[in-house]
């Protein structure tokens, strides 16, 4: 694995203006002629290519496994105005698939290095990097793009992005203005499995419409971890969750740092002891690391397939030349190869995109804690740490907020108070904020009996 400091020997940017004869022939075949599979409204012309090259603005979210592939595919397909957002820096374990990065780039921001590579490799392409979280931007940023394509690694981030695009929709007299729709193409992979979907916010199923399709996160029950372990993973979780806080191996107040090999080594040794107690095999250093860091296996080929499916959709939609994927494709090559596309349907009362006011049905004697539990546990809401406010006696009052320690402490007593005690009335509006959405959700409190 020789790593040199020599610049890549690639013909980048040295030609006049970056154009050469026949450069875009492969794109023109799709845009300059009609065909039996083109969109019924498509008019072949030379203008489509110019739109792609000069005007169309694409936002790529994530510059990791999917992001690198997406940037390559889009740049090669003629898109020149691309922005990429990623809050991460490069790690050595990324190098088996995130091919825009080299060993010397470890520690640098992914967005910056990815943009540099593509700009140097594809003459005329201008990728603008943003070493930021998606939440650092507001509507004015997102509104400038024609299409947004995601290669994210968390469901929360997807839901936030979904919520942001829904908030950009403009309704006039109850009718959706189509020019306010920004298509969202979302890809996800895990080992040999992946999926790609096309979302037209306000028109087709959104991320929250199909929230219940995501498999539940693996969280082992406490009783299994504490007294009846069977798997090597249970042993590691025991050490991480119960033994570490008790023994404080690296000092008081020193939390487990998943990136510190010394910490992992300690967890590994203790996990082995625990496993020996229960005659469990399979505890290795690698497994220990995987459990503590919640590592998901990943390989280049799956990312190549899914990112390509997404990039194809970007091309189809940007050129208006072909009917897009309708609308959810799954891919699995664990055993043989399986791929299937189905139309995910909108949920009639989706909490994000249906505009149907969400009701909360509780007895006036129910405690506020029950409302918080409902918001987090309900399969269609799955909030992480909801903050609830209400207008009481003309003033905006925070009933409970978890994410700021001082406010959490102050509002914690409210959890054990009943809704009646808190002064809430039947039909009252409750505003709920959460990391899963950029907009506050409004609920109507409906008292039962």
């Amino acid at each position: 694995m020789a790593d040199t400091d020599e610049p890549m020997v690639v013909d980048g940017g040295s030609r006049d203006g970056g154009e050469w004869d026949g450069r875009w022939n492969h794109i023109n075949t799709f845009l300059e002629r009609p065909g039996p599979f083109t969109h019924p409204d498509f008019e072949p012309s030379t203008e489509s290519l110019q739109f792609l090259l000069d005007t169309c603005k694409i936002l790529v979210i994530g510059a990791g496994g999917l992001g690198c592939e997406l940037l390559k595919d889009l740049a090669l397909s003629g898109f020149r105005h691309i922005h990429v957002v990623d809050m991460d820096t490069i790690d050595v374990s990324n190098l088996n698939r995130q091919f825009l990065f080299r060993l010397k780039d470890v520690g640098r921001p992914k967005a910056d290095i990815a943009a540099d590579f593509i700009n140097g490799r594809i003459p005329g392409c201008n990728v603008v990097p943003h070493f930021k979280k998606i939440q650092d931007f507001d509507e004015s940023f997102y509104r400038q793009f024609h299409i947004i394509v995601c290669g994210l690694d968390s469901i929360i981030a997807r839901r936030w992005m979904n919520g942001m695009l829904l908030s950009l929709l403009v309704y006039e007299d109850g009718v959706l203005d189509p020019s306010s729709i920004i298509p969202l193409i979302d890809g996800g992979t895990e080992g040999f499995k992946g999926n790609a979907r096309v979302i037209f916010p306000g028109m087709t199923a959104c991320i929250d419409c199909t929230l219940e399709l995501y498999p539940p996160q693996i969280n082992f029950p406490m009783c299994t971890i504490a007294s009846m372990p069977r798997l090597p993973e249970h042993c590691v979780e025991y050490v991480r969750m119960l033994l570490w806080p008790k023994e404080k191996p690296f000092g008081d107040g020193v939390g487990l740092d998943a990136d510190d090999p010394e910490h992992i080594q300690w967890v590994y040794q203790k996990s082995q002891e625990r496993a020996a107690e229960f005659s469990i095999t399979g505890v290795t250093y690698r497994l220990t690391q995987g459990v503590v860091k919640r590592i998901i296996p990943a390989v280049a080929s799956t990312n190549a397939v899914i990112a390509a499916a997404c990039a194809t959709e970007v091309f189809k939609i940007a050129s208006s030349a072909y009917i897009p994927l309708n609308n959810y494709m799954v891919f699995n090559d664990v055993d043989g190869l399986y791929t299937y596309t189905f139309e995910a349907e909108r949920k009639e009362n989706c909490s994000s995109c249906s505009q149907v006011p969400q009701d909360l049905h509780f007895s006036p004697s129910a405690k506020l804690q029950e409302v918080v539990d409902y918001l987090t546990e309900n399969a269609s809401l799955q909030m992480k740490s909801p903050a609830i406010t209400a207008t009481l006696e003309g003033k905006n009052k925070t009933l409970y907020l978890q994410t700021v320690a001082s406010i959490e402490q102050r509002t914690r007593p409210n959890l054990s108070k009943s809704l009646k005690e808190l002064g809430l009335l039947d039909g009252q509006e409750l505003a709920v904020a959460d990391v899963t959405t950029p907009q506050t959700l409004l609920f109507k409190l409906s008292f039962t009996s």
Partner: protein
């Protein structure tokens, strides 16, 4: 060719390849680390396959390309000859191409390709259990323990795979389940042989007419109706779509990894991708 000496995975490599080692195991990664691969053809598909193989961590990748950029891939005769030559020396062969929205991959891993599959261990139910219900009949599967099951797959040559006889009754009845991509491939390879290049947008009209003529000839020679490939098939097989290259390159790259690491069942023996429908199909063409 896989080197006889045991490959060693250094600590740096274990860190770099960590995410895929978690997918296919350390043994498989060691085999990859000792493999040498010859890659012929460096257009869109070749570039994607090269990327995927290098990222997987093969020891050596030899690139062979006899054409300049934007000219033709390998002719059918050349592929058949290379495949036969490699078979004599026990070298595994992969072929692939992308034509517009369509792509294919073919593999010939020899008469006896040995590999392992990791399956959960089956625990036999105790015979003195009193319940007779359906639960007793189901073998209990222990998810913690897995076992490596050795398997063998037998592949035929490219020549045989392409020369399937469609005139007998058995073949005709299986026609309904056969992907038309197989016949499209025949037409495109014949075009390549006759014209010395692939269909080019600059000569669309002439090439389209020739493609339809070849379709008629090829299907007639096979004893099949030319309706099998509808009139408009010509519209979507010109040039190479980058994303289609990525999909086929991804699958092809993974097949090479599987064959070199001798782990997991290989696709036998064609993979066809239709970018218009977004459908991928694995199918076998050759003797039973």
């Amino acid at each position: 060719m896989i080197e006889k000496e045991e490959s060693i995975i250094s600590e740096e490599e274990a860190a770099q390849y960590d995410r895929q080692i978690r997918l296919w195991g350390l043994d498989a990664q060691k085999r990859l680390r000792g493999s040498r691969v010859l890659l012929v053809g460096l257009r869109g598909l070749g570039a994607e396959v090269a990327k995927n193989l290098i990222l997987a961590g093969v020891k050596g990748l030899t690139l062979l390309d006899h054409e300049q950029v934007c000219l033709t891939g390998c002719s059918r005769d050349l592929m058949v000859r290379v495949d036969q030559l490699c078979a004599q020396h026990n070298i595994k062969v992969f072929c692939g191409d992308v034509f517009g929205y369509h792509g294919y991959m073919f593999s010939d891993l020899g008469q006896e390709h040995n590999y392992v599959e990791e399956k959960p261990k089956v625990v036999k139910p105790k015979t003195d259990e009193s319940n007779d219900g359906p639960e007793a009949k189901k073998p209990k599967v222990d998810p913690n323990e897995t076992t490596m099951i050795k398997k063998t797959a037998s592949f035929c040559s490219l020549k045989v795979a392409l020369e399937v006889d469609w005139t007998n009754e058995k073949a005709k009845s299986s026609l309904k389940r056969t992907p038309v991509d197989y016949f499209l491939l025949h037409v495109l390879l014949k075009f390549r042989t006759d014209k010395g290049r692939d269909p080019h947008p600059e000569s669309f009209e002439a090439d389209a007419t020739l493609l339809r003529q070849i379709r008629d000839d090829v299907l007639e020679a096979m004893g099949l109706s030319s309706e099998l490939l509808p009139h408009d098939f010509v519209s979507y097989c010109f040039s190479e779509m980058a994303p289609v290259c990525a999909v086929v390159g991804g699958v092809l790259g993974q097949e090479v990894v599987k064959a070199l690491s001798q782990r997991d069942a290989p696709h036998k023996n064609f993979f066809f991708f239709d970018g218009m429908k977004g459908s991928g199909v694995v199918d076998y063409f050759g003797p039973k």
